[in-house]
C-alpha cells in the first residue's frame, strides 16, 4: 500500500462521519432532486417520468425573469452588507477599539440576531416595520422627520429583505475578519505607524492584503448561502407583494410546497445547483484559490 493510500485509510475513521453527513444530506438529496425534476410529482407523491417537460415549462414561465432579477439583486446587495459591513465592524471592534472588553461587548451585541431563532428575528422585523402609527420605524420617522406612516414591506420589499439578511450575515463576517485581524503580527502595524501610515493606509496596505483568504472564503460562502437561503424572505415578505421579493430558491419552495408541484420545484432547484457550482468555480478562479492554499507566508517570531 503506498503512502497516500495509507494516509487516506488512517484518516478515514476521522472524516467518515462528515463524509457520511455530506453523502446523506447533500449528494443523496441532489441526486433525488435531479431524478425528481424529470417527473410530474404532485400531491400524490408519485414518480411519473415526463422527460424534460419541467425544464421546458421553466423557460416558458413568465415569472422566471423577475425571479431571476430579484435573485441577482438580493444576492449582490446582501453580499455587500455581509462582507463589506462585516469587514467594517471587524475593523472598528478589533483595530480601532483597542480595549478588548469593549470590542467584545460590541461584537456580542452584533451577534444577538444570530443567536435568535429565525422566526423570532423575522417577527422583530415585522413589528419594527409595522405599517400602522404604532410601528417602531413609523414612530421614529414621524418623530424625527415628521413623515407620515407608511407600509415599508409593501413599498420596499427588496430593501427590507436585503437589510434583514445583511444585518444577520454581517455578524458572521465580523467574527471571521476579527479573528483574522488578530492573527496579523503586531509588528506590521508598528512598522506601518513608524513609517507614518495613516489608519486608512494601514487598512488598505496591511489589513486587506492579509485578509484576502478570509475575504475570499466569506464572499464564496455567503454567495452560495444567499443563493439557496430563503427563510427570512419567507417569514418577512413571503416573496411578495406580487413576486417583488420572490427569489429563485423561494420560488422553488412555493412551487413544491404551495402548489404541490414537486417535480417542477425540483427542476427549478436543479438550475440553482448548477448556477451555484458555476459561481463557486468562477470565484475560486478570481480569488486565485491555488495560490491561497500555498504555505502561510506570515512567519511568526
Amino acid at each position: 500500500m503506498n503512502n497516500s493510500k495509507k494516509s487516506f485509510f488512517v484518516a478515514l475513521p476521522f472524516i467518515a462521519p462528515f463524509l457520511l453527513l455530506i453523502l446523506f444530506f447533500y449528494f443523496v438529496p441532489v441526486v433525488l432532486t435531479f431524478i425528481m425534476s424529470f417527473t410530474d410529482m404532485d400531491f400524490s407523491l408519485r414518480w411519473n417520468f415526463v422527460g424534460i417537460d419541467n425544464y421546458v415549462k421553466l423557460f416558458r414561465d413568465q415569472n422566471i425573469g423577475i425571479v431571476f432579477m430579484n435573485t441577482i439583486k438580493y444576492v449582490f446587495f446582501t453580499l455587500i452588507i455581509n462582507v463589506g459591513f462585516g469587514f467594517l465592524l471587524a475593523v472598528i471592534t478589533t483595530y480601532f477599539i483597542k480595549n478588548e472588553n469593549k470590542g467584545l461587548l460590541f461584537k456580542t451585541i452584533w451577534m444577538f440576531p444570530r443567536m435568535t431563532p429565525a422566526v423570532i428575528y423575522a417577527l422583530l422585523w415585522l413589528w419594527f416595520l409595522d405599517p400602522t402609527e404604532s410601528g417602531m420605524l413609523n414612530m421614529l420617522s414621524n418623530k424625527l422627520f415628521n413623515l407620515p406612516s407608511q407600509n415599508w414591506i409593501l413599498n420596499h420589499p427588496m430593501t427590507v429583505i436585503v437589510i434583514a439578511n445583511g444585518m444577520i450575515g454581517a455578524s458572521l463576517g465580523m467574527v471571521v475578519f476579527s479573528s483574522a485581524i488578530k492573527s496579523i503580527p503586531k509588528t506590521y502595524f508598528q512598522v506601518a505607524s513608524v513609517d507614518g501610515a495613516s489608519d486608512w493606509g494601514i487598512i488598505r496596505y496591511v489589513i486587506i492584503p492579509f485578509l484576502k483568504w478570509p475575504l475570499m472564503f466569506m464572499t464564496i460562502w455567503q454567495t452560495l448561502s444567499l443563493i439557496t437561503s430563503y427563510e427570512y424572505i419567507l417569514l418577512i415578505t413571503d416573496g411578495g407583494p406580487l413576486n417583488r421579493s420572490e427569489v429563485w430558491s423561494l420560488y422553488s419552495y412555493h412551487k413544491a410546497f404551495k402548489n404541490y408541484e414537486f417535480g417542477y420545484g425540483a427542476a427549478i432547484s436543479m438550475v440553482l445547483v448548477i448556477i451555484a457550482v458555476i459561481i463557486a468555480i468562477i470565484m475560486l478562479k478570481l480569488f486565485g484559490y491555488d495560490a491561497m492554499m500555498n504555505k502561510n507566508k506570515i512567519k511568526k517570531e
Binding site: 475513521p13 467518515a16 400531491f43 400524490s44 407523491l45 415549462k57 416558458r60 407600509n151 406580487l242 410546497f257
Partner: protein, 469 residues
Amino acid sequence: MKKFIKQLIFLMIITTLSLTACKKNEDKNADSTSASGMEEIVFEVESYGSPADSTRVSNLQEAADELNKILEEKGDNRRIKVNASHVSSGYDEYNQKFIFAHKSGQGADIRTISHADIAMMAEGEYILDLDDYVNNSEWSEYVKDIYPNLWDATKWGTKIYGIPQDTEARPVFFRKDILRELGWSEDEISSLPERIKNGEFTLDDMTNLAKEAVDKGVAKFGIYHRPNNGAFFVSMIYNFGGKLFNEENGKLVFDRQAIKDTLNYFYDISQVEKVVPDGMTSMEWRQIHQDWVEGNVLFWYGGTWHWAEYQEVEYHSELGKLSEDYMFENIGYALIPAASKEGNPVTLSQPYVYVINSNTKYPDLAFALVAIASQPNYNVKHAIGSGHLVISSTAAEDSTYKENKFLSDVQYMLDYTTIQPNHPEMSKLTSALFKAIQGVEMGEYNPDQAIEWLEEQVKNDIEDIEFIN
C-alpha cells in the same frame, strides 16, 4: 495492515451503532390489551380553524365516551381513546404534515379539512372512500339527516370521501355605528340586509357608500377583505356570473369575462375609489380584525365564524373580547350585494368535512366515531360556539340552535350559497387569481394587463383547463 483492519472494525462498530439507533416506527393505532381483556385503540384526530373551532376535535373526544358505551352494550371488547390536536395557523402546513406522514404509514386517523381539498386527498389516496359506510353500515342512521347539498361537497367523482362537519356563509358585515354617523335612521339600517337580498342595493351602491364614509371622515377605510388567497375571491367571480367548473367533462373553466369583471371591481375599489387600502393584500390578519372591531372600517367581507371569534379573541384594544350585545348594537350582516340590479346577491360556503386516513387500522370505528359526533347535540354545540351553521335538518330544529339569534338570522343565506368546485388543481387557479387581484389592488396592473398575466399563468400551471369568453 493490522492497523488498517483495526480501523476498519472501529468504523464498522460506529456505523452499526448509528444504524441501530434508528428506531423502527411504531405501529399505527398501537393498541394494548389489558388484563380484563379490553383492547384500547388510540385515535389521533386533528382539526384546523380559529380557536373557537376546537369543538371540531373536542366533539370527537366526547363522542368516544358514547361510542365506548355502545361497544360495551354490544359486547365488543374494543375501547376508543382519542388524542386531539387543534391547529389555528398555517392550513397549507397542516395538510403538508399529513401528506408526508401518510407516506410513512402515519398521520392522524381522523382530520377535518376544507371540502375544497377532498379531490386532492382522494386522488392521492390519502383518505378512505366512505360510500359504503355512509349508505350501508350500522352507523348510516347517524348521518342520514345531513343536508344533501353538503354531501355533494364531499364527493370526488361520484364517491363520498368525507362527512360534513359544519358549514357557514360569507356575509358582508357592516358597522351600524358608522351608518348612524352618516345620518342613517334605525329603520334604514335594519332594512339594509333585506334590500341587499332583494337586489335593490348593489355592489356599486356599497362602493359609493363606503366612499361617502371615507370622504366624510367617519371611517378610516370603506371596505376590508381577507388579505390572502381564499374562497371569498371565488364568490366574487360567481357574483359576476362566472363559472369555474364544467361538470360534463370534469375540467376547470377560465371564464374570461367574469374574471375580468372581478378584477375590474377590485381595481375600482382600491385604485379608483380608494375605499380599500392598496396594501390590503399585505395586511396582517390581526390588524384587519382590530381595525374592524374598533369601528375604523364600514364594510368587512368576513365569515359567519367571525361572529364567534370576536367574542373569543381580544382584538379590541380597549374592550378586549366583544360582548354579543355590543355586536348586535354596532354590527350588521347581509349577503354580498349583487353585482348589478338584475343580479342576485351571493355568498359562499366552504363546508369543513371529517375525513378518515386510508392508513387507519380501524376504519369502522373511525367512521362510527365521526357518525356519532355528527349528531345534533354535538353539531349544535360546535355551531353556536364557533359561528358556523349546522349540517342537518334535525340539528336546525334544535331548540338551543333556534334560540341563537345570529345563527337564525343568517340561516337564510344558505339559500343563496355557492361552493367551490372539487378539483385537485383548483388551488392553483385560486392562487393565481389572488396574485392577479393583488396586482390590480397595488396598481401594478390594470385589469387588462392582469387578465393577460393571469391567463398566461394559468396556462403554465394547469395542464387541462377550458377557456371561455
